[in-house]
């Protein structure tokens, strides 16, 4: 479709942060798209987004695989509360970019605050806690 963006943009000031955090073990063998999605998810979880002022091309859209797209699209669906919204690719990507921009700051903060081993063990605890909370909430809603 015409006007469909061919790449995802980041704030140009975020480039240095991405370059720094990709050295962490957790991102071993991970590319730009994986870092972007991770930051996006963090931002979305906190429902924090921030407009990108000075854009820098970061990842080509065709580098995202189906699983990545599923995560990006699910974000757009929930944000807009309208499934059909996923046809508006420009909007979908813009949302992803804004959430990633905010999420990156949170991620960077977490990595800088504590030694890496502590970050990892905190993360592990967080995963278990959040998943258990999700399961609890899930079973409640099923009744």
């Amino acid at each position: 479709m015409a006007n469909e963006p061919d790449r995802i943009y980041i704030d140009k000031n975020d480039k240095a942060i991405y370059e720094r955090i990709e050295k962490a073990n957790i991102f071993n063998d991970k590319g730009n798209k994986d870092l972007f999605i991770y930051a996006m998810i963090i931002g979305f979880e906190q429902r924090l987004k921030e407009a990108v002022s000075s854009k820098l091309g970061f990842v080509r859209v065709d580098y995202f695989n189906d699983e990545d797209m599923a995560l990006i699209n699910s974000l757009a669906i929930i944000e807009s509360k309208d499934i059909d919204m996923i046809s508006e690719r420009k909007t979908v990507y813009q949302l992803a970019e804004e959430y990633a921009h905010a999420g990156l700051k949170i991620l960077n903060d977490k990595l800088e605050k504590v030694p890496y081993e502590v970050f990892e063990s905190n993360l592990e605890l967080e995963i278990i806690t959040k998943y258990e909370a999700f399961l609890k909430a899930s079973s409640k809603s099923k009744g």
Binding site: N28, D34, I41, F44, N73, S74, I83, E124, I127
Partner: protein
């Protein structure tokens, strides 16, 4: 034979020094006292250099320095030569005919060089015959006379360093001692006679063969059998020598390793532990990376799970409602628009209808695109939901694995540290090398022992064959009347060989027995623990054994000082039994002997000095009152003094 005078010119510390060794009363005992560094040991080196051309007792800081006095060499200037000279004057036997050995080395300072270099050396022996004529022998011929005086193979028994004595039985192997006894006993003369006799015998046997072809055939057969026998005997002797040498090495290495049990095993274990630690570290690293990757995936999914769950709900609802995929096939509407005819009723499509169809088509196209996207993402969202608990489980397992490996690492490291501590202070490389060598020599000993056993059985067979063929040959000789004369000669030679061989073996056995007795006697005189030690014995491989009075062997457990005394007793016994008349020169004879035990040794020197020339070189502290009290009125005493002005050493009479 005795040394009468030593003259040193430009040799090391001695620019021009003459030492006269005059007898004192009936004793030929001489004491030279000098501080360390003044040139005491270089007297021994001078004698060695003169006779053999080398200096085995050189101090470390003199190694590599020229033999000549450094100041004289430097002051000589460019192109001027300096002659370094040592003359050793001796008196042969009872004839009192004087003779001397002299070695001269010429040094020159060449252009551009800082240190003078040796440009020539010569060695001569001067003697006078009974008619008073001077005879001069040079180089190789002169060296032959050195061999009569003190053969180079025996010099360590005549000219030695007291410090060497305490290491004597670690370094003097059975082989060395048997060689020395062989040389000292002069049985090489008998060996030579029997060897030469064999060659004459061989000629006679060939002559006998010329008398008849049968004799010749029998001779050839015998010689062939004898050759095979001799070859195997030779190989057996070589084997036995190798076994003895291997045993010497084994003993030396076992002594060296006695204080370091299991070092080799510990070093090997430490190596294994290092490899294990390396493997564990690698495994931990891999698992940590694997865990980190799973943390990435699981945290991503966990954080997004509410969104995923909601999305699944919405998508499933749309599918359930039949909205996905859309119910109308857009290609049908496209066909209607292009033909302007309704495909169902066939009516013409007007503008309004066309516009409605276009809007519907747009909606359907959008809906299709969305539908496609939804259908595509749905399975992934479901899969994420299913896989997440598995990934979380895997993370826990990895965590446990890592913890286990870290524990393993801790224990392995602790074991390694323990070994490391035990090995501290050991020269591991040396000990491991010793252990390897020990195994090598043990294998050599075992292999050669097996080979020797095999050879012994072959030799029995070959001896039988040789005796048979000899008998056949003798019979052929008997038959032939013409051979009677030659036959007699052969028998005569064979008898001579038999006698000289038997005499040689008896002499060696006799000497060995006498050395045992004399060593025991001297050792008893020298040692302070007189009721502790029993006999000394020399076994058939010429190993020394020392026994406690209770009968146990104790050579390996005695002190360095006691070992030095045993070595000295052994040397004196060798001298006494050998009949070799040459002088003994000892540098630092009471090294490692404590003060209170020195008087025993001094008394033995005094006693031995009655029949033999002994020259002793002491430092002032070694020539303590315990020694000087015994020797002062029995020895010719001299002192070395360094002249500060000329930086050279000269001799003075000893004034206590």
């Amino acid at each position: 034979m005795r040394i009468t005078k030593l003259v040193m010119r430009n040799y090391r510390q001695y620019i021009d020094c003459t030492i006269d060794f005059e007898k004192k009363a009936r004793r030929d005992l001489h004491v030279v006292v000098g501080k360390n560094g003044v040139g005491k040991t270089n007297i021994l080196n001078a004698i060695n250099w003169c006779l053999y051309g080398n200096e085995p007792h050189l101090a470390k800081d003199s190694e590599g320095m020229p033999v000549g006095n450094v100041r004289v060499l430097r002051e000589a200037g460019q192109h001027k030569k300096v002659i370094v000279s040592v003359e050793l004057h001796i008196c042969l036997d009872k004839s009192e005919n004087p003779a001397f050995f002299v070695r001269n080395a010429e040094y020159r300072l060449k252009a551009g060089e800082e240190t003078p270099v040796k440009v020539g050396e010569d060695f001569s022996y001067f003697t006078r015959d009974n008619s008073g004529n001077t005879k001069i022998y040079r180089s190789g011929e002169a060296s032959t006379y050195v061999q009569h005086f003190v053969p180079i193979t025996l010099r360590e028994f005549f000219f030695f360093d007291g410090e060497q004595l305490s290491n004597y039985f670690k370094e003097a192997t059975g082989q060395k001692i048997s060689n020395a006894i062989f040389e000292l006993s002069q049985v090489d003369l008998l060996n030579r006679i029997s060897a030469r006799m064999e060659r004459v015998l061989s000629d006679f046997r060939k002559d006998a063969s010329a008398n008849s072809p049968q004799i010749d055939e029998a001779r050839k057969k015998y010689e062939n059998d004898k050759e095979k026998l001799d070859q195997n005997k030779e190989e057996l002797k070589t084997c036995q020598d190798q076994i003895a040498a291997a045993k010497d090495e084994i003993k030396r290495l076992q002594d060296a390793l006695a204080d370091y049990p299991n070092v080799e095993a510990m070093v090997e274990r430490r190596k294994q532990l290092d490899h294990k630690l390396e493997d564990i570290d690698k495994a931990i690293k891999m698992k940590k990376l694997e865990k980190a990757s799973k943390l990435y995936t699981s945290s991503k999914f966990t954080m997004h799970m509410p969104a995923i769950e909601q999305s699944i709900g919405l998508i499933d609802e749309k599918i359930a409602k039949g909205e996905v995929p859309p119910p109308i096939d857009p290609s049908v509407l496209e066909g209607v628009l292009s033909k302007n005819v309704c495909k169902i009723c066939g009516a013409k499509i007007d503008t309004a209808a066309a516009s409605r169809i276009k809007t519907l088509l747009k909606e359907i196209r959008t809906s299709k695109k969305v539908g496609q996207a939804i259908l595509s993402m749905n399975p992934y969202l479901h899969r994420i939901k299913e896989e997440l608990p598995e990934i979380i489980k895997e993370i826990k397992i990895l965590g446990k694995d890592i913890a286990d490996k870290q524990k393993d690492h801790k224990f392995t490291f602790a074991e390694k540290e323990q070994i490391q501590k035990k090995l501290e202070g050991f020269n591991e490389e040396k000990i491991v090398a010793y252990s390897k060598d020990l195994k090598k020599y043990e294998k050599l000993r075992d292999d050669k022992t097996e080979r020797a056993g095999f050879l012994k059985s072959i030799i029995i067979e070959l001896e039988r064959n040789a005796n048979e063929s000899k008998k056949d040959w003798d019979e052929e000789l008997e038959k032939n009347k013409k051979s009677e004369g030659i036959r007699n000669r052969i028998r005569f030679c064979e008898k001579a060989v038999q006698i000289t061989t038997a005499a040689k073996n008896n002499i060696l056995n006799d000497i060995r027995a006498k050395i045992e007795i004399e060593t025991t006697n001297y050792f008893t005189k020298l040692i302070w623990k007189k009721d502790y030690f029993g006999d000394v014995s020399l076994d058939s491989n010429y190993y020394i054994h020392l026994f406690h009075k209770m009968g146990m062997e104790c050579l390996g457990t005695i002190s360095a000082g006691e070992r030095g005394l045993l070595a000295f007793a052994f040397t004196l016994a060798m001298h006494k039994i050998s009949g070799f008349d040459s002088p003994i020169i000892i540098d630092s004879p009471v090294h490692r002997i404590s003060d209170e035990n020195r008087s025993n040794i001094a008394n033995v020197f005094a006693e031995v000095g009655e029949g033999k020339q002994i020259i002793l070189l002491f430092t002032p502290s070694e020539y303590s009152s315990e020694v000087s009290t015994v020797l002062s009125n029995k020895a010719n005493q001299m002192m070395l003094k360094m002249d500060v002005a000329s930086n050279s050493t000269c001799l003075e009479s000893y004034n206590g």
